[in-house]
Amino acid sequence: MVGSPHSLLRDVGFDVQAGEILGIVGESGSGKTMASLTVIGLLPGAIELRAGSVMLEGRELVSEAMTVERSSSDISMIFQQPRSALNPTMRAGRQVARVLEVNQGLGRAEAMDNAIEMLQHVGISGADRVARAYPHQLSGGMSQRVMVAMALACKPRLLIADEPTTALDVTIQAQIFDLMRSLVAEIGCGVLFITHDLAAVAEMCDRVVVMYGGQVMETARIDDLLDHPEHPYTQYLLKSTEKEIDHRVVDVGVNFALTGCRFSHRCPHAHEACNEFPSLYSVGEGHASACVLNKEGRIAAP
């Protein structure tokens, strides 16, 4: 935050393989959205990037001026409330076509044809009718499909999906998940799937990163995480919420001034060593946890 010496995100890092879906899980305020906005270079004005790097297939995207230089064929993103994320005074087809015009330099007519094709591809029947419609005339699920079409039109290497189905019905959710999976398989991109819904994570993700207070707490393959969570925070999450993190309960107040582990003020195992910033300690293959207790190895869940 500008004007404050405290960083919102600390030592946050992760990597995604092509064709892999990496989930980022956390409560509201955990920094998951912030991390994704950083990757795509869309941080809101009041927040600045001080240090970090974004590497796409070996290429560094962060410039010297600490901005992220990327195009829609590198990284694209879909957002949480699909209907408000679309321009209300522009027809749906035109919005998809615009992506192609801006990124691939296509002419209007050609872009529109491609756009309609893309809309069909994301499972919209009557695509040319939908293309002429305005966002307010479409349902939530339909709007999200349009957004998916916009995001995948340029075949990006990485797709970031920020709570894509939170605002939608459960049945539509399932459809969108299927759609995403098939498109990912087809294009071979990586996906950063951000959510607070553990069930969605379990269903969609290959690997998971758990965040809290702007720090990475644990990272593992999804099965490993669910079977033996190592970090006290993950354990707390899985126990207390069963399926979904209650995002209405906002944390009492993450203290960004803490130099150590930011979960320590809620942790049942908190002690003096927690005042030091914990690194990610390996606790298994592809499984790491940022708790000082894990230095020695695994700890059993209480």
Partner: protein, 297 residues
């Protein structure tokens, strides 16, 4: 695993986060001035004008005394704003006018707010036919630009200050009705309203004792802006010699009288009082805008 665990209660966390807690009063006020310069300017101006209006008239010459040996004296040490056609001291008249105009402006805003909020609460709270009817009335009143409405009302009645106040208040009432009604429509859905009803209060009591106080905030902000506009309207009418007329010392009257002087070069008789109008209204604007959230960020 016993160890000293530092106190992590929320209050402790909060103070730590905020940084050094104690800052001297002066420093904090300076901080305010830097962050919201317009608000500070507005308040300062307002205080100056208020001072001028309240105590000024005791220190200046008689606004009505004429002195034909001293007509059209340009601004000088003896006469800060010069003198006019009748040798009257323009500064003295401006100061007296400040008292009159500000008093009128505030009165109008208060009356309009009082009437408007009551109607707004009734309309918003009870809804139905009453609401429809009141809204249609409001539409008709709003069908006229405020100035024209005030104009015909004053023209139709006797031209006294009271009538001017009433006429202009009428023009501003719809604004408060709309503002309050919108607020009431929101408040009405909140839980405490049901609570009050269940406690046995009759509808009228619920509306006026409970909902009204909670719906007042935007109206109070609106009142500061309206004060400014009321002064403008009254001065405008006075400029046309409607309502308040010469030789009363009122800003609009003074500009009206001095208008012809401008062509022959005696600008001070009209431009000084006019400038005071602009500055006074700006002061109300700065304050009102600040509370409406316009000037921050």
């Amino acid at each position: 695993m016993s160890a000293t665990v530092p106190d992590r209660s929320p209050e402790f966390v909060a103070t730590e986060f905020d940084g050094p807690a104690e800052q001297s009063r002066g420093k904090r006020m300076l901080g305010l001035a830097r962050r919201k310069p317009l608000l500070v300017m507005g308040v300062t101006l307002l205080v100056l004008f208020a001072g001028l209006a309240v105590i000024g008239p005791f220190f200046v010459r008689d606004p009505l005394s004429t002195d034909v040996t001293n007509t059209f004296v340009a601004p000088s040490g003896a006469h800060w704003f010069g003198t006019d056609l009748f040798g009257r001291d323009v500064f003295a008249r401006s100061v007296h006018a400040a008292r009159l105009d500000l008093a009128i402006g505030v009165t109008i805003a208060l009356i309009a707010m009082f009437v408007g909020t009551i109607i707004g609460v009734v309309s918003g709270f009870f809804g139905g036919a009453i609401d429809e009817l009141l809204m249609r009335f409001t539409d008709v009143v709003l069908a006229f630009p405020g100035f024209v409405l005030a104009l015909i009302i004053v023209a139709a009645l006797e031209e006294t200050i009271i009538n001017v106040i009433l006429a202009v208040s009428v023009a501003f009432v719809p604004y408060f009705i709309r503002l309050t009604r919108a607020e009431v429509l929101k408040e009405r859905e909140l839980e405490y309203v049901d609570g009050a009803r269940l406690a046995g209060n009759r509808s009228w009591r619920v509306a006026f004792r409970h909902v009204l106080p909670n719906s007042l905030a935007p109206s109070i902000v609106g009142a500061t802006l309206v004060t400014g506009y009321a002064v403008l309207t009254v001065a405008g009418l006075a400029f046309l010699s409607v309502g308040i007329q010469p030789p009363t010392a009122e800003w609009g009257v003074m500009v009206g009288e001095g208008a012809k002087d401008v062509i022959t070069g005696e600008w001070w008789t009209s431009l000084f009082p006019g400038a005071m109008i602009v500055v006074a209204v700006m002061a109300f604007h700065f304050i009102g805008d600040e509370f409406a959230g316009e000037t921050t960020s």
